[in-house]
Amino acid sequence: MLLNQFLVLAAVLFCIGVYGVIARKNGVLVLMSVELILNAVNINLVAFSAMTDSISGQVFALFVIAVAAAEVGVGLAIVLAIFRTHKTVDLDQVDLMKG
């Protein structure tokens, strides 16, 4: 197997995720898109780990997974609080402060 097939897959996922975080209205969906990006990173890390025969990549990926779980928890809490105060999860409508 070529290393690049994994890397390109990861790059594609990464860019889809980037599109998602910019283009989606719903805060929850933005968070899901972030997960796509983080998964792309993980694929990179594990592929490199296999490639260089270094265990650190897999450990790195595990840490990323753990942190991602924490981030999602925090993110959903914030989106929930947004929903309470703004009655919407459309991030475009959360723009009181500007300039």
């Binding site: 290393l3 690049n4 594609v12 996922l13 860019c15 998602g20 910019i22 989606r24």
Partner: protein
């Protein structure tokens, strides 16, 4: 997606890996398709379901790469916990299940532009840097003990920090999301 297939096709002359390559190709195609649906579908619950597909596909790729422990963790943490969190989030924010007006922002073209630029830069770099690198032929599944040795050896402190991090995140998330 085409780029992925092209990359896979480049390697078609290596007969030994036909099985893996076919598996990779199918899973990759599935993942890319699901990922696109995650960011385009109007139905939030569908998006979560597609996300599960992507996550599961990633787990499968990890197995292809011999990282079984990571794959299992991926399934447990992501599909088991994170997606459930997402579903709770969807439920609590009472998102409409259907409705085109919720699909994308007016500025979605900015997103497209951004991701295309980023993709161009990344692909150029990747093809240039790792163009002919191959995964070692005698790739073995990594032993879980080895992973744990590393975590509890070199990365012990980071591991402890992660535990603190999860505690802080949980405490804080409860306070912020609590209705009071």
């Amino acid at each position: 997606m085409i780029a992925v297939l092209a990359a896979a096709a480049q390697n078609a002359d290596a007969p030994v890996y036909v099985a893996q390559n076919v598996a990779f190709g199918i899973i990759a195609a599935l993942m890319v398709f699901s990922a696109i649906r995650v960011v385009t579908t109007a139905n939030v619950v569908h998006a979560a379901a597609y996300l599960v597909m992507v996550l599961a596909g990633a787990a499968a790729q990890f197995i292809l790469l011999g990282a079984e422990f990571v794959a299992i963790t991926q399934v447990m943490v992501y599909i088991g916990a994170v997606v459930v969190l997402f579903l709770f989030g969807i439920m609590l924010t009472k998102a409409p299940m259907r409705g085109e007006e919720f699909a994308r922002r007016d500025q979605w073209l900015a997103g497209l532009f951004t991701s295309v630029v980023l993709f161009g830069v990344l692909i150029y770099g990747l093809l240039d840097g790792f163009g002919r690198s191959k995964i070692p032929q005698d790739l073995q599944p990594t032993l879980t003990g080895e992973v744990s040795d590393s975590i509890f050896g070199t990365y012990l402190l980071a591991f402890e920090a992660i535990s603190l991090l999860l505690l802080a995140a949980a405490v804080g998330a409860i306070v912020v999301s609590k209705r009071d």
